[in-house]
Symmetry: D2
Subunit: 321 residues, 4 copies
């Protein structure tokens, strides 16, 4: 990769940004990027992938035991009860023996299984479609690419690329392993599955499997990880997929492929390609099923919660085979 892109990450990012830009592809007002590829026709075709009717939740549990370890202000979800089964009808002032339990949550939207919205990352202050980041995402949130724009469309064909199983040892890639386009393609071919426009591509590295075997999350939510090489930007762009998600915290390989670089693939994928990125997805149960029946494509419902002007959203993606 460094051969191809050179030793200066800033120059490499600029080059990739230029080469793979989708700015204005869907007009100046576009707010959903590559999700445009996932149209009704693609969605209708995906229905045929539901055969057995088995469904898999690809979400981690949202609770206090989640993966966050106190980095910045990213806490795990704090769930509190507003009333419980211990509060009686009398105490609640309710008639005929009725009592009710209610609850609340505080959570950073990026704390667990999530979509990064297009306003999550900026390249030198520039957001998706060439807008000024400082105008797009203020303290009021994202006025141009808020996650609420994705409330309806993110339902379609999902494809699992189980790179961990294909290329890893015991189904897992080591931390720091950069998954290349060639790796993605060889996995795809090995699995005998096609990938094309509008697909929601799930890349399993196996890191989550490994972390779960251990005694705690460690730095899963922010540390070293296998993940996509910067070099895959061409593949991500050229395949015209709608989104890519992984079982790691940050999609791309960590440490990144230049010393001191930080998430350079994000810096191209979100603001330039307009590509939706999914993080901390739990692909293990689905992957086991795919390995067992050899079918790596499925119907995927991965609609975010439509928090208005949010730059991301927790999501419970459900795959149906």
């Amino acid at each position: 990769m460094i051969d191809e892109f050179g030793s200066d990450p800033e120059a490499a990012i600029a080059a990739a940004a230029k080469r793979y830009s989708n700015w204005n592809r869907w007009g100046a007002d576009d707010g959903v990027g590559t999700v445009n590829f996932l149209d009704a026709e693609k969605r209708a075709a995906a229905a045929a992938l539901i055969r057995r009717g088995v469904s898999f939740s690809l979400s981690l549990p949202f609770d206090e035991n989640g993966p966050q370890f106190g980095w910045k202000r990213r806490v795990n979800p704090v769930h509190t009860m507003m009333s419980t089964g211990m509060d009686t009808a009398e105490q609640m002032g309710l008639p005929h023996g009725l009592s009710v339990a209610d609850d609340a949550v505080f959570m950073p939207l990026q704390c667990s299984t999530q979509w990064d919205g297009l306003g999550h990352v900026f390249d030198h202050g520039v957001a998706w479609n060439g807008r000024a980041g400082r105008e797009v995402v203020t303290s009021e949130g994202d006025v141009a690419t808020g996650i609420e724009r994705l409330a309806a469309p993110v339902v379609g064909r999902g494809v699992l690329l189980d790179v961990g199983r294909a290329l890893g040892e015991d189904g897992e890639l080591p931390d720091g392993y950069p998954i290349t386009s060639a790796d993605l393609e060889s996995t795809r071919e090995r699995q005998g599955v096609s990938i094309g426009r509008g697909d929601l591509v799930l890349v399993r590295t196996g890191q989550l499997t490994r972390v779960r075997r251990g005694e705690g999350w460690g730095t899963y939510a922010g540390g070293p990880a296998p993940g996509l090489s910067f070099e895959t930007l061409g593949w991500l762009h050229g395949t015209e997929i709608a989104a890519v998600a992984t079982d790691t915290w940050g999609v791309e390989v960590r440490p990144n492929e230049w010393p001191d670089a930080m998430q350079p693939l994000h810096q191209v994928a979100l603001p330039h390609i307009g590509l939706l990125l999914g993080e901390m997805w739990d692909l293990d149960a689905l992957a086991a099923d795919c390995a067992a029946d050899g079918v790596h494509e499925f119907f995927l419902a991965a609609q975010p919660l439509p928090f208005t002007r949010a730059v991301g959203s927790p999501v419970n993606p459900v795959a149906v085979k």
Copy 2:
């Protein structure tokens, strides 16, 4: 209804609870109730309902302008940015021109479009399947029927019963209108659609349409509303549907059908039938489409966010036709 069930709500609730109980139907350990009806076979069959590939989000926007009006501690979601497009790469200490926007939310789980979990309501302190409410839902949350158990299965056949359009004036039922089983059946027949085991039934009253025409939410999230009559419990039980959801805050008619009663249908539906209830769903765009093409059945992905031990969850239900 009062003819059938008598003038004493407590006695009526007890009678209905006994008549329509599903306790132990799926074993003593069951934690999902009527969602058991929605099995893989039903889910596979529902795939055939995706024809055009058009998708509809049935969720209200989750934001500060939501329907809550300060009743109890139910505030609207408060979304705050943890970083924005105004914070520069330098200020964030990030390299090569990268900057990142993050956000957080505080929200009561029952504040907008939602599923009521089975641990949301108790009858004289008794929870679903006959468990003691005080043991099931403590301050730690719901240990027996937490919403996380519904992470995977709530995807299947959706049916819209547009009672507002069928029986209302200009498509809307007035507040306080009790929808009876006969109303549900006549609407169903008028629409030419079947309803059966495992279906996710959406009942449109038109109240949300009316509220949206006005100047504000008023008491939409807790006041008078059209809704299901207590009498529909037999229909809800006998049809063996997996869930019912409405475009109102509380599924059932308000005021309820006895003076001073409070949500008596909930008191039977959740702890005795084990029936999942959906509230504040936005059915208008879907209903308009159904009215236009005459097709009132669809594939519905309505998986909750799996907050561990939660008694409910915000949800973005997506219907695909």
Copy 3:
């Protein structure tokens, strides 16, 4: 006032900002403004004002019934229990009959009785002491004038100016009444109290008294109110007081004294004078006591909670006479 300052609020603000600026008075690095006036000597002298030992909390209750009415995202505090007296020792896994109740809160820091920190308001993007607002208060908070800098010093001599009692009808000024310097001085003289360097001055308008008589908060937390005239900036500056607080949401008169103006006094007081502003203080019990004994000075402990980098803080000011 308009006579003195002209018809253009922007020009008036600029003129007042220039005339009353305290920039660099305490050095380029200063982070506490006029609180510099409240030194140890002043604090020691204030001790003599404690005579009877009677203490008054000047705080509104922090709860769901607070004054906020849903303006922007300013909700009232949401207090939830994390465990209760209903959870048993067994359920909590605790030995020898011990059980514990814990709780949590979500709150905007400006939602009730509060101090505005110096980083709360900017004049054309400029913050206290001439710093660039965009550098001082980022998404990480206020790095130059965070409220934590006021953790220790805000304890000293308090003086109540009960303008409502002095000049109002039945002890209350009407909404929209602009309190002038002459009003402050005539009230001070009538009360026979001095005001000088380092004092914490509390101005009672009586609006809170009136609101409490009514059926709800109405727009108390953001609507019309009696309050300081823009013209008092000279008095606020010249007296060298450390802070001023009122029983209204916004210190200054609303509507402001120019059509379409918004809190012009704030725009001078915070970034230019460096004056701490207190809002929504409950002065009624203290005022009744002062009216009864004729003593309008007291020891005041009004230390904020030191939220790091916060631009304000809830506060429970306690006056001791």
Copy 4:
């Protein structure tokens, strides 16, 4: 201690509860316990302790770097900006160059420097003054002893007992060191200070000093610590002090003095003595000053934020000498 109280913690707790009970001492309706000892006379006398006018905040910073380490759902305070100095007047829709920064916080009330309210702990389900815990502290909070009752009175004479300096090595007691009544008395005598009715007693162990020298908080907020021996209950009761606070997370020694016991002193002090407990107070700067001038008494303003029905409150105690 085990000699005096025997080997069974449950029996020891029962014996101490009986011996030191203050139930009904201030009537059946009492909601503030030993704070009754701190009356106006005591408060007036405390004023004489303000000599130099120097003030000390005894609060830890409230921020994301606080002492919590993810135990249960006790996160550190999460402070987020609702608007910043980067948002311009134009973006905020405000006139004449005005812009405003606002913020919000989510925090467990027990996460940092705090008061435990009387409803924080129960002995076999029984709360302060003999009330049933399940009736006193429901999901609505504490209806009998909510922290709001302490909004005004907790201002008076503070006394520092610097046991760390008196008996420790380099000013610090080791973790697990049980401070006895004899230790408290010998420290008191060594310091030449009296202790009596209504005092707010601050016990410095030096643990916080030690923790701050290290690389992180470790288990400061829930692990081993020096602290009061169970045996001090007699002293706490007999001295008729209003409150005791320490520089540790839990006041009493950890591990406790019986194997597998958990906070037995709390179980007597709160529900039986009615004694206010302060935790995680930062006493170091004050202690250094006291060591320097030999004066260990001072005026202390330690009023909680009056969260209605809360079982505790963050507090910024300010000592003035």
